[in-house]
């Protein structure tokens, strides 16, 4: 297995569970909870290292994942006192836990082979070097096992509880009424996010896992209106970011995880600009089209009332300046809605009259 292959597969194994779970976080407007958990698992990771030197991948995963779940519990407990808003409780909880982790690391740095930088940006380039050996048998890269388990867990949760997750995301009230236990679903989702973040931090670091968790689903959110399509699209965007990021980093000899985040950001920026349904350009074009058709409607309605008018009459009648009247008039003439006679009078064509009738019917 070549090193490049291992790194790309590792990146994809981070991108897939992050995209699926991140879709739910973005739709629930809980994207920053993902950020919070990715920081707050730090003390869990440190404690896991403390307790048994070098734990098996699964034990460390579960231990730190428990801390992630604890973050969700703390945030909810603080918010439910009614004394602190949700955004503040997220911020207070994760910074406190991160500070605790950072404190533990520098206090006992000598005993723990773990440094803050590694936790924050990870090093996916080491993925091929760490192999899992059980009973003398080489089972391949360790990340394949940890992230493989994470991916199976995340996909399993979403496939098994798809209906529950969907209803509680879009209509929590309905979920309660149907007896779908949105509270349980919430904590299951938080648990899955925790395990994913912990599994991924080793490869891409605590902060860059946030890029995989939020940017691909947000990109997909700009392209579709269906939950299932959004998840599939988010996975596709995540995988493309991972692969493109790898080759980018390879070409420029820079941080692979950082380049993957930049690739995800570039795809998101492209969607913001160019999404055919929700992009900035499409929105601007739609607004311009609406403005034009509204102005044409006003002009035609004004004409239908006064039968024959000159450009000057229209300007007076509509309260527009002369330039605007001639612009709108030119558009209406080239669209075949009006005719201009030799002496400067403007009259509606048959098409124009039909447009006015349609308009007044629509407004009735």
């Amino acid at each position: 297995m070549s090193a490049g292959f291992v790194i790309i597969v590792t990146g994809i194994l981070v991108a897939v569970p992050c995209a699926v779970l991140g879709t739910l976080l973005v739709l629930r407007q809980m994207a920053m909870v993902g950020d919070a958990i990715s920081h707050a698992v730090l003390p869990g990771i440190v404690l896991a290292f403390f307790l048994s030197g070098s734990l098996g991948p699964l034990a460390a995963l579960v231990g730190a994942g428990a801390f992630g779940l604890l973050t969700a519990v703390f945030i909810e407990a603080l918010r439910s006192t009614g004394r602190v808003k949700e955004d503040s409780s997220i911020g207070i909880v994760f910074t406190a836990l991160f500070a605790l982790g950072a404190f533990l690391i520098s206090r006992y740095a000598g005993n723990v082979h773990l440094d803050l930088e590694h936790v924050l940006y990870g090093e996916i380039a080491f993925a091929p070097l760490n192999t899992l050996v059980v009973g003398g048998v080489d089972l391949g890269p360790r990340t394949f096992w940890t992230l493989g388990i994470v991916t199976v867990l995340a996909l399993g949760l979403v496939l098994l509880l798809y209906k529950e997750l969907k209803v509680s995301t879009f209509d929590p009230g309905l979920a309660v009424a149907l007896g779908l236990a949105p509270g349980v679903v919430h904590y299951l989702l938080m648990g899955a996010v925790s395990v994913t973040v912990v599994g991924a931090f080793d490869a891409v670091g605590a902060i860059l896992v946030v890029a995989f968790l939020i940017a691909p689903p947000a990109t997909a959110y700009l392209l579709t209106e269906r939950l299932s399509y959004m998840m599939v699209l988010a996975v596709a965007v995540g995988v493309v970011s991972a692969v493109a990021g790898y080759y980018l980093a390879y070409a420029a000899n820079v941080s692979i995880a950082g380049a993957m985040a930049v690739a995800a950001g570039a795809l998101f920026a492209t969607a913001v600009l160019a999404s055919p349904t929700h992009g900035v350009l499409a929105n601007a074009a739609r607004r311009r089209r609406n403005r034009r058709s509204f102005a044409r409607g006003l002009l035609l309605a004004g004409l239908s009332r006064s039968r024959r008018s000159t450009e000057h009459d229209l300007a007076h009648h509509l309260g527009w300046d002369g330039e605007r009247v001639s612009t709108v008039l030119r558009a209406a003439r080239s669209g075949g809605f009006v005719l201009q006679t030799g002496n400067g009078e403007v009259v509606l064509t048959r098409k124009g009259q039909e447009a006015v009738e349609n308009l007044s019917r629509a407004l009735r």
Binding site: T81, G91, T95, F98, F103, G258, F268
Partner: protein
């Protein structure tokens, strides 16, 4: 004990650290009040991460380690991040939380990429950049403290000048707009001041823990009062107090990192405020509830 304390208090390095931490506590405490009340607590977190590419670019261009220039780069890229957040939220259907998360992680990712480029060129000054990431209060020198003080002072001055406008914007934005205040410009100005507070603090506590200094003291102060001027004052006091206490405790022994200690102390202050804070304290409302229940059971008392 007293000897240790007095040695600590009159030590040049410790005085710098304590003063610097107090300054960042005040700046974070005051501006954090507005961020917390406007439900933008996590803006500081996103902007703190978004400083990284700016620091790297300035370093690559100038090879300088003068903190003022690096801070300018930090401020510029955080400000661009803030504008990106505002533009995405206004221009598309992406909500604030996702916009914050994307700017935070993508800007940080770009910073990490630039950091590896710097490492490639073999520049020895890379350690100068590390201190912005994780904060190294211990490396604060007098000129750093003066820079921090000047920036924080300027930010507080602007808050003082536009106090009425910011108050109106915070509590009733639409009303402010209806009175003809330039709401968008004020929004950008207030966000820019939060950027200033972030760059005041990143040297001392690092990008992640700076987010705490913009949230925790303000949320603690909120438990003691319902009036904005009092909240700002208490928050500044809590911020400065946590800063000084953290700096002093970390000077007492080896391997006691300043940044995390400041944040842990601030969190402690917040928890105490949550329990005991004036009329809103959880403890008092528990007691009140119990008294009311007893009174009701014994026939209302009246």
């Amino acid at each position: 004990m007293f000897e240790v304390l007095s040695a600590v208090l009159f030590d040049y390095t410790v005085r710098n650290i304590a003063l610097g931490s107090a300054i960042l506590g005040v700046a974070g405490g005051v501006l954090g009040c507005f961020a917390v009340l406007r439900r933008q607590s996590l803006l500081g977190d996103a902007l703190a991460h978004a400083t990284l590419p700016g620091i790297c670019v300035v370093f690559m261009l100038t090879q300088t380690r003068v903190s003022l220039w690096l801070l300018l780069g930090a401020g510029l890229s955080a400000w661009l991040g803030a504008l990106a957040i505002l533009a995405v939220v206004r221009g598309t259907r992406i909500k604030q939380d996702a916009a914050l998360g994307i700017v935070l992680s993508v800007f940080f990712g770009a910073g990490v990429v630039l950091l590896t480029l710097i490492q490639q060129t073999g520049a020895a000054g890379q350690s100068g950049i590390d201190r912005f990431l994780f904060g190294q209060a211990a490396s604060l020198i007098r000129s750093d403290v003066i820079t921090m003080g000047a920036l924080a002072g300027a930010a507080l001055l602007v808050v003082g000048v536009f106090y009425k406008e910011f108050k109106l914007l915070t509590f009733d934005g639409p009303f402010a707009a209806s009175l003809g205040f330039p709401v968008r410009a004020l929004d950008v100005l207030l966000t820019s001041l939060i950027v200033v507070a972030v760059i005041v603090g990143i040297q001392a506590v690092g990008v992640i823990l700076m987010a705490a200094m913009l949230i925790t003291p303000a949320a603690a102060a909120r438990q003691w009062t319902d009036r904005l001027p009092a909240m700002i004052l208490i928050s500044a006091l809590f911020g400065a107090g946590s800063g000084v206490a953290g700096a002093l405790v970390s000077a007492l022994g080896p391997n006691l990192p300043t940044g995390p200690l400041i944040v842990l102390i601030a969190t402690g202050v917040f928890l105490l405020s949550l329990l005991f804070g004036a009329s809103r304290g959880l403890l008092w409302s528990q007691l009140r509830e119990r008294r009311n229940r007893a009174a009701a059971l014994s026939g209302g008392g009246a």
